[in-house]
Symmetry: none
Subunit: 204 residues, 4 copies
Amino acid sequence: MSTETDAQVVPDERPRRGRPRDPDTEVKILGATRAILADSGMRALTVEAVAARAGVAKTTIYRRYRSRHDLALAVLVDMIRTVTAIPDLGDTRRELVQLLRGTLIVLGETLMGRVMQGLVTELASDPYLSRAFRDQVVTLRRGEVARVLERGVARGDLRPDADVALVHELLFGPVYYRLLLSGEPLEPVFADRVVDALLPGLRA
Amino acid sequence: MSTETDAQVVPDERPRRGRPRDPDTEVKILGATRAILADSGMRALTVEAVAARAGVAKTTIYRRYRSRHDLALAVLVDMIRTVTAIPDLGDTRRELVQLLRGTLIVLGETLMGRVMQGLVTELASDPYLSRAFRDQVVTLRRGEVARVLERGVARGDLRPDADVALVHELLFGPVYYRLLLSGEPLEPVFADRVVDALLPGLRA
Amino acid sequence: MSTETDAQVVPDERPRRGRPRDPDTEVKILGATRAILADSGMRALTVEAVAARAGVAKTTIYRRYRSRHDLALAVLVDMIRTVTAIPDLGDTRRELVQLLRGTLIVLGETLMGRVMQGLVTELASDPYLSRAFRDQVVTLRRGEVARVLERGVARGDLRPDADVALVHELLFGPVYYRLLLSGEPLEPVFADRVVDALLPGLRA
Amino acid sequence: MSTETDAQVVPDERPRRGRPRDPDTEVKILGATRAILADSGMRALTVEAVAARAGVAKTTIYRRYRSRHDLALAVLVDMIRTVTAIPDLGDTRRELVQLLRGTLIVLGETLMGRVMQGLVTELASDPYLSRAFRDQVVTLRRGEVARVLERGVARGDLRPDADVALVHELLFGPVYYRLLLSGEPLEPVFADRVVDALLPGLRA
DNA sequence: GACTAAGCGAGACGGTACGTCGCGTCTTAAA
DNA sequence: TTTAAGACGCGACGTACCGTCTCGCTTAGTC
């Protein structure tokens, strides 16, 4: 999925002249990207390699993605989106834990952890990718945290003035700190530890 | 400072024949590194550029540092070490805030933030650099957190069973989340927000 | 003018169904070609650039010309034809000089010199362009030399057995040698020098 | 042979620091160039192909030659130099014929004709190559013509005021006109035809 | 006081990948 | 069927740095 077209939620309605893009091309490119990431990780993810593996010209890739990082991000975002929606479990603590645990699992037990590591420098310093990640991942998570907190407040579990943005950072920051800097393992139980440390400050 | 810590800790005692290393060379290399980082950031920090700017041969650099990242880390660690030691302020909250604020300032108001961004991918994925960063930065901070918590327990402010490692992650994780992923500003007051969110869970 | 001479000679009489070719398109293409040649020379004469400048699709150009070189040749031939016909001046030497001088001026003082330089490799090695140039330029000149020599013979100035083809090569060869290889200037007086060197061998 | 280093006839005496160039590399590059030219001609002569065939990095080629054309020129010049020196044959006509015939043979019967065709556009329009060709080929030939004419004058065969530069152009111009534009064959007897056409104008 | 051994600047070298250019072919919709 | 638009595979470009490798020279201690 291109990180470029998604930004416009309103389906692009301009008349579109010239030969239309072959939708299969997109599939081949992302497939090759995933395959290379799985086989050999970010270091091996070069535009040249993706082109070769997808049986596609380099120019065709550059027409859709600005760089190998943009390509990896498309794959990463796709994966992360799937673990973010949390149903109403009737229990605020459990909901928070589940939200965090999903991320721990994706980053700790799939290739996405390695992808994230290989991507983070660009995510931090390239404005285009930075924006894409924020719009498609950070915002998503903050929204989910907001929903969980709202339900918690409605249940009378939580203080009504809890700061969503802050809670979101306190939840996810430690996870990334482990992934990127401390090297501590991303075990699922870490979700419980973090949530339990924060809840006292959030209780009604 | 070189990240080859062993060399420092046990002052190398083997007889060392041949021409000794010119101590000035080290200075020139790190000076050029800092200059390039200040002028143009991590992207421009190439071994070739450092060699040219320092008036030094590439081989001379490779004799001391494994890569441009190792070079940058040497500069980064040097800077971070200086803000970690926290004196006894008689107030646990203030001590925690000051500890975090130092990091916020170094990362938010000096070139170290950009350096960190440029380095983090390697820090996460290169075992050598990973280890160096953990030994020289993470461990240091955890130690300082431990000292602050101990004093807090001694004062009767904090629960005696507070988990140092976890607190350390909860403090610094959100800061790096901002620096690397969310793009939120590293304003000093963020230290207060984070500390205040955690303290309820730590009180005696 | 298209180099597809056949199309011109026998005015195409087949019924031609579908949308007819817009005659204006031809004009736009050649206009753009000339404009690009004048502005930036052969290096910049790409099919893509011509299409863009003419506001025409690449396919439309390929339907008429095989390549950028074919396009340039069309412009070149157009220009060269205009300077070849020499009237009877009553003086053989003057006629030869004028013939040569026309070429010197076209190649030395208009953009055609640069076009010729940019074209010559293809003219020498692409059979299609090679033939086109010979049919439309070389033959033309040889014919004009033949006419001048005939008049000279009729006047009793020249030997009746003068070799037209050879004289033609001796006249034009040095001009192209200057244009293409020696870099000497194409000054009009060069025509006199060449003619005067050859006439002793041609006199009756 | 590089077209770059030869210009300075005085053997380069500056101290030459750093690792010296491997002389074998030069040999490998030119060998590969010749092989490709022989096998497939100028169209196939790409820097990439030469690098592959010579087992050498592209950068190594670019360190010595500016382009594929420079490379081809080095080979061409090498070949042309060998046929230019004309011994005293005691007969001016025979000397001129032999001089021209050498060129006809090199251009007509070896791969150099094709190389010349593929090169001439660059020779005409790239100032660097233009200069190299003039310095190493045109000048050489003009010098040889001068020597032959001098001997002719000394023998009393030729007018003492014969214009060397002009004669040189009248001799070689027609040969290149055939090679590049008219497509007439470069048969050795053409040398006689040209010389015989010029001699009447040169006789004492 | 010559002999090693290492440090050092310089630059050659093989290599990987980059991002771009222009080619010539194709597929669409509109005219 | 022609046209404008643009997607596409392709080949090659020239460049940037990489990390390693010779060179010649310098600067020590050691024999």
